[in-house]
């Protein structure tokens, strides 16, 4: 199989054994790689608890990884979320995907629970499971210092060790498999780190065809203001969005009580660049280089992080935001859930946290060193529910919402609700057309047509995460161009529609697997606040509460378009049509 190594790795941490297996070609054909392949591999094991020995933790590359295709250095981590109980998948940058593929593997499936802390070392098909007692109790930098600079590594900090429910796996120091608490799955297995290095070749069926596809994509990227423009994310990182979302009056502020924070320029992309003299860096194989690092090596936060540690917590101290981001990277915590849990805590405490208090509580959560830290490490929903105020958790399916207020983008409202992994902006990414005008602009204050748009985009993003490419490229290019790239790499014929069909298969399977854990339409809903409270309007931009009936009507249309039943569940006929009958 061109584009694949045809080999994968199974590791059993209970037995401390590893086995090289043939990558199932039928799964690669049906689910491509990355997220799709991982979801298919987990299958019905999704009903196991996240910390059960049998629960797999999967690291998966895709066919484009380690090729000349733009943004081809990503990989995906898949398991069950300790935070939400849904499927969990995280697309992650850095070098890990490339090293995994060059080490000779398409994916690694890890099961079992070790009786002591261990680490896994992989180099060109050779696998070692070794004692990691010397790494226990260390945060990310401490572990990485001992692992050395070669290759790539995936590490958990104290938050993952102690199974904070939104702990992350940290790749190469500052690329996080962030959402859903997948770090706690690694912690439950007592796997502290994976170190991986590869030098093996990756085969491409049609190098000339791939070069042509790459040039088509690059021409579109160069023409994109959002990517390579002087105000784009290549220049400022995703913090470029601060000013835009602020201007659109949809920046979540004060635990989503408001949608406008007048001090947001204090942490904008421009301000961070001025203050920290940032330079570009990024994932292996990426021409965009959206990651920004300060002149003293400070890692600049992403848009979601600056906005949530900023506006969501009424904090205009950029240095505190950068430090909060550093702490989260050190402990291995999802910044969105951490910041949103803090703002939920502040609301229930009826006060505003000072920057220093915010940093202190992050450390308490990351290390689970205090009662408050342990309480808040469970996420905003469990915390607010225990306090008798579940409505104060601004989450969907228990996953805290990111930094786009749904009252300012109705497609985003629907996409948050229908997302298979909970309140996530990346499943359908409607910000692309509702805010960034790509591929064309849609009316952000209307549900008209959004049900089908969201369904198509969910399918598309499932494909992107399975290839595994970067979503930012799709502000400029489309599956039309990427179908040419993946066809050239694999030697199989793909087009936009065949890829979208695969995306549908992945999305519906995820939905079905969630249903095995009891998720229904009742979980596809937004916090009440959005239906009863206004946002922060200006004379030109009116931010009304969402109309409940319009939302429910759009959701109902969405189920119908998906082929789900009235409870929002895939029917047997749909599963059979998509070739998913074996999962029933």
């Amino acid at each position: 199989m061109h584009g694949y190594t045809s080999r994968s790795l199974k590791i059993d941490l209970s037995a401390k054994t590893s086995e090289i297996i043939a990558t199932p070609s039928s799964l690669a054909e049906q689910f491509i790689g990355g997220r799709g392949l991982g979801i298919a591999l987990i299958g019905k094991r999704i009903s196991l608890d996240y910390d059960a020995a049998g629960m797999p933790l999967i690291f998966s590359s895709g066919p484009l990884v380690a090729t000349e295709a733009p943004t081809s250095g990503r990989s995906t981590v898949i398991s069950r979320s300790p935070l939400t109980g849904t499927i969990a998948d995280c697309s992650v940058g850095g070098r890990f995907g490339t090293e995994l593929k060059r080490a000779g593997f398409d994916f690694i499936e890890i099961t079992g629970t070790s009786d002591r802390w261990v680490m896994v070392t992989i180099e060109d098909l050779a696998v070692t499971i070794s004692d990691a007692a010397h790494l226990e109790g260390k945060n990310v930098t401490g572990v990485r210092d001992l692992l050395g600079p070669e290759g790539s590594n995936a590490v958990i900090g104290l938050a993952g060790e102690r199974q904070a429910r939104y702990s992350s796996i940290v790749f190469d120091g500052h690329y996080l498999a962030g959402r859903g608490g997948i770090g706690a799955v690694m912690g439950a297995k007592r796997l502290k780190a994976i170190k991986i290095k590869g030098t093996l070749p990756v085969s491409v069926a049609d190098s000339a065809g791939l070069k042509e596809a790459r040039e088509e994509i690059m021409r579109l990227l160069r023409a994109s203001q959002a990517i390579f423009g002087e105000l784009g994310i290549s220049e400022f990182g995703t913090a470029a969005l601060v000013d835009l979302i602020h201007a659109r009056r949809m920046e979540p502020t004060g635990n989503f009580k408001k949608t406008f924070y007048d001090a947001s320029s204090s942490y904008s992309g421009y301000t961070l660049r001025q203050c920290y003299q940032t330079k570009k860096t990024g994932c292996r194989g990426c021409p965009i280089l959206c990651k920004k690092v300060g002149n003293k090596g400070e890692v600049m936060p992403e848009y979601e992080t600056v906005s949530h540690f900023g506006a969501l917590n009424f904090n205009n101290d950029a240095a505190a935001i950068v430090e909060a981001n550093r702490l989260c990277n050190e402990y291995g915590l999802d910044t969105i859930s951490a910041a949103a849990t803090l703002s939920c805590y502040a609301e229930l405490e009826n006060r505003v946290l000072s920057p220093q208090e915010m940093l202190d509580i992050i450390a308490e959560i990351g290390g689970m060193t205090t009662y408050r830290g342990r309480l808040l490490s469970q996420g905003s929903y469990r915390y607010a529910q225990a306090a008798g105020r579940p409505e104060a958790s601004m989450s969907v399916k228990g996953l805290e919402l990111p930094a786009y207020d749904p009252r300012g983008a109705y497609g985003m409202a629907l996409a948050y609700a229908t997302s298979n992994r909970g309140g996530c902006h990346l499943r359908a990414y409607p910000i692309s057309h509702e805010i960034l005008r790509k591929p064309v602009a849609t009316d952000r204050f209307s549900f008209e047509g959004k049900a089908r748009i969201i369904r198509i985009a969910e399918d598309m993003n499932a494909v992107i995460d399975s290839l595994t490419a970067c979503k930012f490229v799709f502000f400029a290019a489309s599956l039309e161009e990427y179908a040419r790239a993946v066809s050239a790499v694999t030697g199989r014929t793909y087009d936009m529609q065949s890829l979208l069909k695969t995306g549908e298969r992945i999305y519906v399977l995820e939905r079905y697997l969630n249903s095995l854990n009891g998720f229904t339409s009742a979980d596809d809903d937004l916090p009440k606040r959005f239906f009863i409270e206004e946002g922060s309007s200006s004379p030109n931009i009116i931010v009304k509460p969402l109309n409940r009936q319009e939302f429910l009507s759009a959701r109902s249309n969405y189920y119908r378009i998906r082929g789900y039943d009235a409870h929002g569940l895939p029917t047997e006929a749909l599963m059979e049509r998509l070739g998913l009958g074996q999962y029933l």
Partner: protein, 392 residues
Amino acid sequence: MKRLIDKYTGKLTHQGLAGAENITLLCLDAEVTANRPLTEVNPELLRVFDLMNINALLYAEPEEPYKSIIRHLATREKDRLIPNDCENRTFLHDIPIISDLSADTLSRVLSRRKAAIVGAQGIISFGTVSPEQAFVSFSSVCFSTFVKFFTDVMFHLENLNAGKLQRDIALLEAYEEIIKFIQPAFPACDAISKNPPQNESEVVRQMIVAGKELVERRLVDSNFGNISYTFGDNIYISQTGSSLDELETCIDAVPLDGSSSSGITASSELSAHICIFRKTGMRAILHGHPRFTVIMSMSCRKDWCDLSTCYSSCSQDRSVSGIPIVSGEIGTGPSGLFRTVPEAMAKNRAVVVFGHGIFSAGIDSFGPAFELMQSVEKSFILEYFNKIRGLI
């Protein structure tokens, strides 16, 4: 969805791209909505929705001259057209040609490209987000085939006169038929102010008026082209993908000192506009794609040229009717036009970009910039037909 269907059906007719009776525009959310009763819609078009994960489908027989142009091009080329203009080489890549309107064939080609020519008489396109995508692709095919036809005629005659090939009788007969539909008119335009705006709201108002006139006079097609005005510390510029006749809510105010990135939604030519202002001090800048300006910009085929790089890196010092022609790609890449156009604008108030379009500027109002763009198109039309007459 009906609102969007009416909007884009109206645009197709108003811009002379297709007659209302020849348009089928379908949108799908939970139900199909159309610009005509579904009983009158070809069932094969409806069946495309079963085969493709899309939400809009547009099929129409274009108006003249596009109808005759695509008939000729589709007859001559076998399975696809490759645009000659730079913008559509980037956007469309190529345009497949198919012979039948069956759902299976349509879904096969539209799974690979944004639009196709059907049966030498119609154009089909689609959207996954909005019918606007279908409209933009349709309009782009019309523009692109127009430019291709007239450049192909020019190149053929140049080669014929150089003794490099035989006379293409079909092409030249088609040319004689098609030029009957070309009746350029350039009435005076009084709507655009020759006076500088005095405040921000006046800036926006003048931009809205200038944008509408550019579309009305066919100096831009679909959502291409852009417009800016520098006032105070900001450059006001049309947003990316905005239709210049609908700028009311599509203008970004971008601080010149770069202190806000809210203009991340600005036109992809923001850098070019800023550089032109900085280089020349001219505040009112228009960028359009007048057709014969684009065609004549490619009127240069030297034997030693690598034609694949003319768009990005032509080293020749060229001009047509005294207007400089420079190379340069869209956006901010290493061969981006923001590197070439501002330099040329320092000596001229209008500069043409090879295979792409024209930038024109006024010191402090849009009136002179608009008149200049229109006069360049007018002189390039004369230049084109004089050249063809000479070659024939």
